[in-house]
Symmetry: D2
């Protein structure tokens, strides 16, 4: 009795929701139902194209209504799940397991699989997930919808299907334009800027998916240098002289950008770095060091937090505030400040945690990939972003092929941070460290 | 208490199975476990390549042991499923649903996703499923393993990812060689045979998947003719004169072949036909009729079955036995025999059923795609296969674009067989029909 | 006796020239001689690459010395030509003709053919000719060298070898960059500018030669419009709305640019226009009018010349001088001035001649291609170039496929200028015309 | 007076020839004249396509008439050449030289340049020259026509324009079919045969010209072996096991074929060999020996010639006649015969001459490329061609990169034949040698 009444409630809620929906959304849902039905099997491509066109012409409010419906109505039927789950509870047979597997899969999954038949379907589904993600905070009910999209896109964007392409000046303008648009670490200001980043002593690689031929999924920019770069701006300067790639002994990964917001949660970065390191190693065997020149995005934020309780650091942050005001006067900072900040930064890497992992998101990415913390660079990124987030500091993570797997496992097991002796020493000498030893470190 | 003892039994069985496994299989399973672990995240491509290499070097018996293990040990943990299922039974919350979804997904799925990182991984996974399918009858325990592979491959081989390519004489020899090898309907005996099938009045189209660049997934062969072909051999004859495609008014789909046995259960045929019909319609607007010239693979078998109880038909089958013995003397068959067999064949299409659907597998495929039964052709395929399976008859299914969707829905709803008036009339006049009217039909 | 002394003089001059040559040029010439010798046959590619490298590192003065030598020393030997020519004069046999043909061909020809073996050789030879052309005025002695290069490049760049490619936003940046750099009619100021010229209602086509894969040889820019454009700036405005190409009835060729200065004298323009007209006609059958919107580059110059003797026109030119000073105030020009200038322009087209052909170089190009003069457009190109050369006027040449061949022949026979009735009437009413009828023409 | 009458005779002969020509040829010549005229400039592509179509539909006799006309009427006007030649004889000015150059160039040249505008024009002109060559012996009057075509095609098929492509099993069937068809050294009997020649331990490279995308110009087949092959059949056997290319230390060029008969006289072979040697050297650095395994095509013929006067050799040739009769019994030949024949063969290479060059055409080709004669191989090619032309012997020519240029020059200077010590010794011991030393040479 209870069950029947619950089912009734479930049905009547669904009917009520449908009644309140805008007419265009109702029509689109009818189309989606047709796509899921027998008709979808024979007229799938046409129905899918129609449905995506209808979706793209919805007003924002209508999109919300559609997503509400996708999240609520294309879900597993709780009663059916209950029955299958009860059956399995009674008898854990393979048949009951398969039935359970079948009923817990939301109809949405099949819906999106069929939408993919439309020309350009994959790109549109990725874009749809981006809108889901953007509204997720406001619409927690979409979580299940998002989870299904992530599950589907993880399967479709399996790294085994990605194709590595080198990007250079012979690449199509429509792809290059996207690099300009997507670059998330060091903005590309003009085509001249971009061109410098594609010359003989630079490399750019991207992953592409066969279903998105003109859309990079992720790209990385590399500078081929003599010695491990300690400063960012010379790498970006479009007037810097072009070096000889054959003379380089170091590959600096100075920027890595995920392009498709709709693919958040599907990770490509480590795989891309790994492949590029192998490729470059083959092409240019003189290159022995593969390192990043990375921002430290939450250092200043962390500094501000601890400054609230520590007067010494409070003094430092006011120095930084002056620097913010006066522009890029970082080179004139007194040695004492320089040393203290660098020590604090080392301390931040080794000791500032969130859920046992390093607080710094870039550190989490590279350490989990098996890199180690190699060197801190003072006055290294004097762009306004560089100063306001990282106090102008950058860090080199180094990828040593022989250590990568080992490092990764130690990090994966207990979040062990592998760092160079210098960085460890700097952290020990930091005013926040227990022993409180304070020594001017010259080796910076 | 019970639960603990059951878990214990589950564990000890697993240990016992592992003990009995050959050493090489054990080593490979260790590798697969590593691939699934943290290490797999950073060294996935290498581990996947190693694992697939190890798999390919196993002896047949070892492969069986491996599949046993994949089917048994990489499955969901029944105890965990039970717990999640119990929790959901108590409280059908979204959280409990997601947990249930997570625990019912076998580890195998993730394992195959990671194996896909190896170069050529997708092709190897498809080949692996083919071996699973080949052993399934003997090893019913592999059913779950097969189901998971099918689920995964259905997602990866979503029709939206397939690429249509026209195959002609400029296509790579390595692909053409595969057509020769795979052709399942009308064998291609030589390169000269193949070449005739690729000339101006023929078309060949195939679907390719980006991860299998040199392997067709499915292909269809088309003859461009004046009038709807009633006989097969002239279409295949490599010495037949080449017609002018611009003068053709009819496209005959005389062969369609699924190439990848490992993709059984993922259907591409209807989608391919649909796209090819659209493509040809655009390229050659004079073509108004899109039809097949299809075998009737189970007609003789059905005939033999009913002959056991019907003396009239018994007489017919002895005529057929004579034909089998004397070779292709079909043209000399007395008119009476010809008429009776054709009527029986029409009857077979309209009334011989299995689970409410037509007995004939080719009919099921085309009728479900929305085609209609148009015409029966006497002495149409006089190859030994043609005679032994279809009594030399063939059938034209016609695809009328305006009717396809409607036909499909009627078939999908209640397996309604759409047939031409002639075919219906033939069936009515068949000796097996109730009214038992017997008229010589001249319009054949 | 005479002959011997002449040969002696010829030889001693050659030796003297060689003596005065810079060392690096002497070494390069030795290399070129080796390339021409037996060694060149077996080591041609290496020698050619070396020679071109050596050439590219010469100082300007050394290049002059090299060209002097190529012009003087790699020429036919006059004595030998004389002998062959004498022999032929005595006996016009085929043998004597062939010998004559052989000896009149300068060694340079073979030299350049062998230089072409170097990687990138063709591009370098085209560049070399550009330098020859640039120095020709100052070094009349290089005329023969230039003639040989032109002969060779005409053969190699036979239009039958050129490949038409559509240029759009998916084209490689390195090619697009060259359009920006080469555009000779309406400068492209930025990538944004360029992008507008490649959108749906624009077309850009270029000819490429297989030996210069990244270098356009010539390109044309087309706007697809409703109605024949009368003004230039809206076509160039990068903020103009993008029209629907399927709604266009007119294709305006608003810019055509020869890219390779080293190919001067090898003509591609007519062939390109012809092919593009055919291509567009096939792709967009609604387009009925193929017209240019062309500058009138020497109109102001001609005006200034005749103003010297004609006071009326002198008054006009002072009006123009005011316009020059005040910027683009062309719209405010009194109607009388407008009419007079337009009449003068029509007169200019029909009556201003040089060697019986129209004075205007663009008119010569299009009329010779079979186009006709259709319409003059007032205040049509208000760029500073447009005003200073063409008084802001432009002209539409129309290509009517049915008339092109006929028009061309009439032009080719006696330089007949085919013009519309309006243009003829305007010219008749011009103050310079005999009858001197002056009527305000409203139909402008 | 004389001149006028000669011109008159020239004109009237031309008119008479025209009168006797078949109507279709007359019409075609009218078309060709139009193509050469002003009209050709604006309607070239259309006229050229029409003309080539008309040419292709001529009957053999009509083709002869056309070629007669091309050879006779599209030639330089003797009177004009005489005038220009007289003028130059009087005054060897650059102007007079240029005029002379202009008038000695036959109109045919320009005609063929314009025919090249037709789609597929280049291929058709190459085919046309093939027909000219085939009829040359019978029509000596076509010599000038042929010379012009050779001149033109030499310019167009400059080696700098050729593109090297590796041919393998992924190459288009239409190209592979041409290899089967063209192979001139060791016939390819089937696709299976061909496939073996494209496997991992074989290489095939071809030159292509951009205007003939599906037609190889020349190709070479290479076997990668351990040790320098001494016998042909194992290389050709399609059942031979496939070796590991990385283990090979030797590249055997066992077949090189010019594909386009219409390009006779334009040489590509040395350039192809040179590039392939460099390519292979880069790809497989273990390969140290680049050698051919070549037939000795005129050895038996030479042997038969000298046998007429030398009784000893007469005895040998009757042994050979027996071998011819008995099939491939070469292995059973008495050692004495084996030694004598090998010595004679060495003698043949070093002493049998025609115009100071080796009699053997293959030797002329490789020696001129800078190869040296390395080794003779007994019972090496036991095919019927191998025995009937080369007595079953083959020869290895070796390309040593360090010696190639030097060898070539010595050969080019005075036809010096560079041979190994063994070959020289064999020749010295030959019965035909002066000293007449006869020793059994074991080192064979």
């Amino acid at each position: 009795m209870l069950k029947a009444s619950r089912l009734l409630r479930f049905m009547s809620e669904r009917v009520e929701r449908a009644r309140r929906r805008p007419a265009r959304v109702r029509r689109l849902i009818t189309l989606l139902r047709a796509l899921l039905s027998q008709r979808g099997e024979v007229s799938g491509a046409r129905l899918a194209a129609e449905a995506l066109l209808a979706y793209e012409s919805l007003e924002p409010g209508e999109v919300d209504a559609l997503f509400d419906s996708l999240a609520a109505d294309f879900s597993p039927d709780p009663a059916e799940v209950r029955r299958a789950s009860d059956a399995y509870s009674r008898d854990a047979s393979p048949q009951n397991l398969r039935r359970l597997q079948r009923v817990v899969e939301p109809e949405r999954q099949e819906l999106f699989r069929r939408l993919n038949l439309a020309p350009g379907g994959t790109a549109k589904i990725v874009a749809l997930r981006q809108r889901v993600l953007e509204g997720l905070a406001e619409h927690p009910g979409w979580t299940a919808l998002d989870a299904d999209l992530l599950h589907l896109l993880s399967s479709w964007f399996n790294r085994g299907f990605l194709v590595l392409r080198r990007i250079d000046w012979r690449t199509s303008a429509s792809i290059l334009e996207k690099l300009i648009q997507y670059e998330a670490v060091h903005a590309i200001h003009s085509w001249r800027d971009l061109r410098r980043r594609l010359q003989a002593d630079r490399r750019c690689y991207a992953f592409f998916h066969p279903a998105l031929p003109d859309e990079p999924v992720i790209f990385v920019e590399v500078a081929l240098t003599r010695g491990m770069s300690a400063t960012v701006q010379p790498l970006l300067d479009h007037e810097s002289p072009v070096g000889d790639p054959l003379a380089a002994n170091c590959a600096i990964f100075y920027s890595i950008t995920n392009c498709q917001k709709g693919l958040r949660g599907v990770s490509f970065g480590s795989f891309l770095l790994k492949i590029v390191v192998e490729d470059l190693g083959r092409e240019l065997p003189r290159i022995k060091t593969f390192a990043t020149l990375s921002p430290i995005p939450t250092f200043r934020k962390w500094l501000a937090d601890i400054a609230k309780t520590s007067p010494d650091i409070g003094a430092l942050t006011s120095v930084l505030a002056e620097i913010d005001a006066s522009g890029t006067a970082l080179h004139k900072t007194p040695a004492k400040v320089r040393v203290e900040l660098t020590q604090l930064c080392a301390y931040y890497f080794l000791h500032a945690k969130s859920d046992n992992q390093p607080l710094d998101p870039v550190a989490r990415f590279h350490l989990n990939n098996g890199a180690s913390l190699e060197r801190l660079n003072w006055a290294s990124d004097v762009s306004s972003t560089g100063i306001s987030r990282s106090a102008g500091l950058t860090v080199n993570y180094v990828y040593r092929l022989s250590d990568v797997e080992n490092n990764h496992e130690r990090y994966a097991r207990d979040y062990r941070v592998i760092a160079s002796g210098t960085i460890k020493r700097l952290a020990r000498h930091c005013s926040l460290s227990a022993g409180n030893e304070r020594v001017v470190v010259d080796s910076l």
